[in-house]
């Protein structure tokens, strides 16, 4: 009896250490006696998963993250730790889904608009509104923050806005006897000019052809320019429209006329150095990031930028992508995570605004998501190609739609079928619209924008 009580008491007292013994035994049994055997998981610091730092490919971008985190760690008790995940693995890979599915999702991470609904509907995004002051909330351009908001609450803070535009090779234009006056303003002009620039070594204009969120993203402006949309205000599919048909037909014509390649070089339509700069194409539909990419990878390449052409009777539009900081509502310390997001990007304090300006003008070449940042960075936005973006291209930018995967797939299939498989655009649009309607009928998540 005494022994039992003693044992019982000692078990109570030894509670944690008994567990440690068991853990140690398990670890010892399953590991092979090498270094890094058993990590005691540092439960205090918040893990921030992204694809920039530490040690990411671009030193300025990596440094921006590291400086930001150091600044936070110096002034706060709860520390933030950067975890680098290679970009491809982050975006299309299994690492994030695996972590979330096993309940070990990161405390802080970044998402694109395409992912927003997946995470929001899974209940993983923390409402950041309480951590931000009113002025800060209004400082974000409404068009930019709209697709991270549900019911007037902010769930993600954008770092940047990356509008799509058209880039052209000055040398290719000169060779074909074209000048700046010939820069196309309508879809028809784009195809005609493209035809003049096409020869046996080069294509006239390059659009993305690989299926994926990115291809959809680059195609949406052409839908919008014709006045089309994915969803009506009543929540039904708006895809079966003349605007969708003409946008699908535009890309189909480009390929069928031989003006557009069926496959881009390098990583895809977003990769400007292997395509435009190498002479594979004379014009390329690519985003603002191409400025810094060309600066690094082809510094002697002469190019120009112009805004997307419009269809007859259409209105100029472009799409703005860009990633946002989000906090894991199911993380170990959501409050601290939310505070971090607001402190980093969503505060009216000068260092927060400065941080946004630095990211958009020094680390990257992007448009800022906040009015104060645009104002503060006006020196950078008044020169060179950033000026073209600020003046011509950005006004008229709509935020990237956040569509749930079945809607994404329906639209992607329609684009692929028309662009590459010769299907009639009317049929493709109708089929996609049907699928979208079928999905929307049973959909109960946050509104698609």
């Amino acid at each position: 009896m005494t022994n039992q009580t003693k044992a019982g008491a000692s078990i109570h007292r030894l509670g944690p250490s008994r567990r440690t013994v068991l853990v140690g035994a398990a670890a010892g049994a399953t590991t092979l006696g090498f270094p890094y055997i058993s990590r005691s998981y540092a439960a205090e610091s918040l893990k921030f998963w992204q694809f920039y730092a530490p040690g990411g490919g671009v030193a300025t971008q990596s440094k921006w993250f590291e400086d930001m985190v150091k600044s936070w760690n110096d002034s706060h008790d709860v520390k933030v730790e950067l975890v680098y995940v290679p970009n491809n693995a982050y975006m299309d890979g299994t690492k994030l889904p695996t972590a979330f599915a096993s309940g070990a999702g990161p405390d802080l991470f970044i998402i694109s608009p395409g992912d927003f609904l997946r995470y929001y509907n899974g209940g993983v995004l923390l409402d950041l509104t309480p951590f931000m002051e009113e002025k800060a909330r209004e400082d974000f351009f409404p068009g930019v923050i709209a697709n991270r908001m549900v019911d007037n609450k902010i769930y993600g803070l954008p770092m940047e806005v990356e509008p799509m535009a058209m880039y052209y090779s000055v040398d290719a234009f000169n060779e074909a006897g074209l000048t700046e006056k010939d820069i196309p303003k309508t879809w028809e002009e784009l195809l005609t000019v493209g035809k003049k620039l096409t020869n046996d070594k080069r294509f006239g204009v390059l659009f993305e052809t690989a299926p994926g969120y990115y291809q959809n993203f680059t195609w949406y402006p052409f839908l919008w320019e014709g006045g089309g949309d994915i969803q009506t205000k009543e929540g039904k599919s708006a895809f079966n429209s003349p605007a969708a048909v003409q946008a699908l037909k535009f890309w189909q014509d480009a390929v069928n006329m031989g003006v557009s390649p069926r496959k881009p070089l390098g990583g895809g339509g977003w990769d400007v150095v292997p395509n435009l700069a190498s002479g594979y194409c004379a014009m390329q539909n690519v985003g603002i990031w191409a400025i810094s990419q060309l600066r690094e990878g082809a510094p002697n390449f002469k190019y120009g930028v112009f805004k997307l052409p419009t269809p007859p009777g259409g209105k100029y539009a472009t799409v703005g992508g860009g990633w946002a900081f989000v906090a894991n509502a199911k993380g170990k310390n959501p409050k601290a995570a939310g505070e971090f997001c607001a402190w980093a990007l969503g505060s009216m304090s000068p260092d927060s605004i400065e941080r946004v300006v630095d990211w958009c003008t020094k680390a990257k070449s992007d448009m800022p998501p906040r009015k104060s940042a645009l104002e503060q960075g006006k020196d950078a936005y008044n020169k060179g190609f950033l000026k073209v973006f600020a003046d011509d291209i950005y006004p008229g930018a709509r935020a990237e739609p956040r569509v749930p995967p079945p809607v994404y797939k329906a639209i992607s299939d329609a684009i692929q079928a028309c662009q590459l498989n010769g299907q009639k655009p009317e049929e493709a649009a109708a089929a996609a619209s049907q699928q979208i309607d079928a999905f929307l009928a049973g959909y109960k998540g946050a509104p698609i924008l």
């Binding site: 399953t30 090498f34 990590r39 680098y84 970009n87 972590a99 599915a101 070089l265």
Partner: protein, 283 residues
């Protein structure tokens, strides 16, 4: 060699030469088609970022800059070491375990043997991405995250090797073992002294394949480690791609370097595969 034999040999050579030559040429042609695309890999490693997709095979301005970057700006030696350590460990342990299991499944008789084999084979029919979530949860529960153990242990168990070795042992003539068993040797002695040496060709082939598979593995190392100090080479190469920018020149240079050790492995082991073990004709 006497005159008669020499004459026969010369006659053989004379008559065989055209066919042998033709076969040699065919072999060379096939080898060329196998290797030709890789010329571009090497070519791209010596090109700068701006002309890497240029149509010329020989770089206009060859540069060593890519290799320098890969080894100085990135902890690539460390990643090479990590990968070698993991791949070698997995290969050695796997060869040992799989040859034991393959031998037992082929030669020893025990209840449930074929059922066990089928169950093991069934695990070959699943693809890694499908099981990765439960496997990750399990590895986390076993405290294998961010550790060499996590990289090595799960990678050992794969039914392919067991299947191949069982197939091989099924074809080995029984007389050898029976002779040993009659002499009273225990099963482990038989395995160690007779079966293992006999399996040198197949074990050499598997050594190459296991090493290669683990050397180039990407998905599992990426999933199980977040600590960059534990990275394997393919994960490191993936980090040369950013969101809208891919340093193809670094990727090609690093990949050229990464391909070399496996080529060396192959050169070393392929001879052992070809050595016909004279004991196949049992005296």
């Amino acid at each position: 060699m006497n005159d008669g034999a020499r004459a026969t040999l010369q006659l053989e050579l004379a008559t065989l030469r055209p066919t042998r030559l033709a076969l040699h040429l065919v072999g060379l042609l096939l080898a060329f088609t196998a290797v030709a695309p890789l010329f571009w890999m090497v070519s791209m490693s010596f090109k700068g970022a701006n002309d890497i997709f240029g149509v010329n095979l020989v770089p206009d301005h060859p540069t060593l800059g890519n290799f320098l970057y890969v080894f100085t700006q990135v902890d690539f030696f460390r990643y090479l070491w990590n990968t070698f350590f993991v791949a070698a460990s997995v290969t050695i342990v796997a060869l040992f375990f799989h040859s034991m299991a393959g031998y037992a499944l082929a030669r020893l008789r025990f209840p449930g043997r074929d059922a066990i084999f089928l169950a093991m084979f069934a695990t070959f029919l699943i693809s890694q991405p499908v099981i990765i979530v439960p496997l990750f949860i399990l590895a986390r529960a076993l405290h294998m995250l961010d550790s060499y153990a996590g990289l090595i242990v799960p990678s050992i168990f794969n039914a392919f090797g067991i299947f191949l070795l069982r197939q091989f042992y099924l074809a080995v003539p029984r007389e050898l073992e029976e002779a040993a068993v009659i002499d009273g040797a225990g099963y482990f002695r038989v395995y160690w002294s007779i079966i293992l040496p006999l399996s040198r060709p197949i074990l050499s082939a598997l050594a190459i394949l296991f090493f290669l598979a683990n050397w180039n593995s990407f998905l599992w190392p990426l999933t199980i480690t977040s600590d960059q100090k534990l990275w394997m080479v393919q994960v490191a190469i993936a980090s040369f791609r950013q969101q809208y920018n891919a340093s193809w020149n670094y990727i090609m240079a690093a990949s050229t370097v990464v391909a070399l050790p496996t080529v060396v492995m192959f050169v070393i082991f392929q001879k052992r595969i070809i050595e016909s073990i004279k004991t196949s004709g049992i005296k």
